[in-house]
Subunit: 345 residues, 2 copies
């Protein structure tokens, strides 16, 4: 079974964007009208994915996509926790409706409200975050969650994810048996491009946080997915091994009991490197379509994000290929696996 | 000729560190004594490199190293422009003494005082920066310069390097005919590890700044070196191509008239990818020893930073290999080339 483990609802009906725009307008001017999400029909939802993610997935031979709200719009750096909560709820609700309309094609991954109450982590800073995680998993049936390691949007004011301040969230992930996809959102400066820099930088930064400090000794069953091929990590695997040795830390390979990388790397040499460096059992097929890149490489004619094509050219055993294309996702996302079994798949 | 294009004086005599410590102590407590750099003898300088960079370079067959102050200690985020200026001058002066003692083995690359007067770029914010650049090149004989695109130390408060605010510095680089090595320093948060995250992130961030906005149309002869194998860029080359297309910008290959990557990538698969993706004429041999990583890979027995070994295993023509190992450095650093010609090399 072929599972695209990284998708975002980047094509949601305009009512959702309008809701966010109204939220931001009211933050800028409290006399503006309250934000209200206008009704979205099932037909509108169907059209929004039938013409896009669902069509492309079918054309490429994919069978199911893990589907989260649009990451660049999460906007945890916008300073109002209540606004963040309402935005996460609305975003997750529309994703849940899509997954209900197409239970065999989509499974939900949650956006969390991570805007800290006082602009910085403090007591109870994760309460709303964890409440929405629980609601997404237990009420909406989501199978995973996006966790933003830098809610400040490129200022990196939060402590490392290995810090005790994050423990309540990791405890909840373990209890609910959902993996956390480490995924930042937009940036508060034009100097750092969200899709071309911040996403990759965050992947790298969090991996180094895990190299530096223990997390999985405290949470041995916690699973983190580092998207976008792990940022710079596989390309610089020797650097991380060397740094770990210099810091007196375990070899980064030890992290691979708990850490997984996806295949959102948009050319053949990058995919080849990923599978050369990282064991196949730690690699999850993903395209992130329709995400950072759109259209096709004019030289090859291959869609930039058609990572399945690149993966088909990698020399792997059948077992490894099955694991990368879907088996690993079922293992990392046990709630997805349970749902698929219910569907007889 | 084999030129290691990326080295730092990480082994300077303790007097230099003591000077910095005294600077920081006085910043914390104005009643502390003024910082004074204690005398360093030529013998101390010789010992500090004979036992380290010079010994290792000779053992590995290198002939000359581009030598800059220790990057992680530049500390532009420490908020005092006068302190930054004195620190850059002291750091460059000791490097200049080493290059004078070993003119056939080292050539200087400058640290600049980049702490903005009011904590943020404003009129004249680069005056002291450019003054030290001029002094380093015209008085100390340096052939290149480190430019920190994020003087805030991981907060990214400065504008993109393509912004007009940076133009006076690029004008000076063009006038002096020195390339700028894009190299950040330490971070102001433990969440972002300098060597394991911030360095690589900055490489990626700046490349994306160059994808997004024109710089080389204004400065067609400016040359930027992006170290550490270009951060995440070659691994995600398809992502950058796809993003450029989506943004209506030229293919990133166009940047390669002005942008060069070094080979500070510490394992074979990474070096293989770099040379598979980036034309050999844009790749500069570099090890950054003694830098981020120390010692040898216990599996292979090869020193992590002995990138010459990895490069020897890459299939290249003799012309390409000569270019990567030294020819490109002579082309990108014309003042180095001129000096080598004077030496009959």
């Amino acid at each position: 079974m072929i599972i695209d483990s990284h998708g975002h609802y980047t094509t949601a009906p305009g009512q959702l964007d309008a809701f966010r725009t109204a939220q931001l307008a009211r933050l800028a001017d409290p006399s503006a009208p309250p934000a209200v999400l206008a009704a979205i029909s099932d037909d509108e939802l169907r059209a929004s994915v039938e013409a896009n993610q669902l069509r492309i997935m079918r054309e490429r031979g994919g069978e199911l996509m893990l589907f989260a709200p649009k990451a660049s719009a999460m906007g945890h750096h916008v300073p109002d926790p209540d606004v963040a909560r309402a935005w996460a709820e609305a975003s997750n609700d529309v994703v849940a409706r899509v997954t209900a309309l197409y239970p065999e094609s989509f499974a939900g991954v949650a956006q969390l409200p991570q805007t800290p109450p006082d602009g910085a982590p403090g007591p109870g800073w994760l309460d709303a975050t964890i409440a929405e995680l629980r609601r997404s998993v237990t009420e909406l049936g989501f199978v995973g969650v996006l966790v933003n390691p830098d809610p400040s949007g490129s200022r990196w004011t939060a402590p490392a994810v290995t810090d005790e301040a994050w423990s309540p969230l990791w405890e909840a992930c373990v209890e609910l048996d959902v993996p956390a996809v480490v995924h930042v959102s937009g940036t508060c400066t034009t100097a750092v491009h969200p899709l071309g820099a911040h996403y990759l930088n965050a992947d790298t930064t969090v991996f180094m946080q895990l190299v530096e400090n223990d997390l999985f000794t405290r949470f041995p069953t916690l699973r983190l997915v580092i998207p976008h091929g792990g940022g710079a990590v596989p390309y610089h695997w020797g650097r991380f091994r060397g740094l770990a040795a210099r810091l007196g830390r375990p070899d980064p390979a030890e992290l691979l009991r708990n850490v997984f990388f996806d295949t959102c790397v948009y050319h053949q040499p990058g995919i080849d490197l990923l599978l050369r460096v990282v064991p196949a059992e730690n690699v999850l097929f993903a395209s992130e379509m329709l995400g950072a890149v759109r259209g096709a490489d004019p030289d090859s004619g291959v869609d930039w994000d058609d990572t399945k094509v690149y993966l088909e050219r990698v020399d792997m055993s059948d077992e490894q290929r099955d694991a990368v294309m879907g088996g690993n996702a079922r293992r990392v996302y046990p709630r997805l696996d349970a749902r698929l079994r219910e569907q007889g798949r």
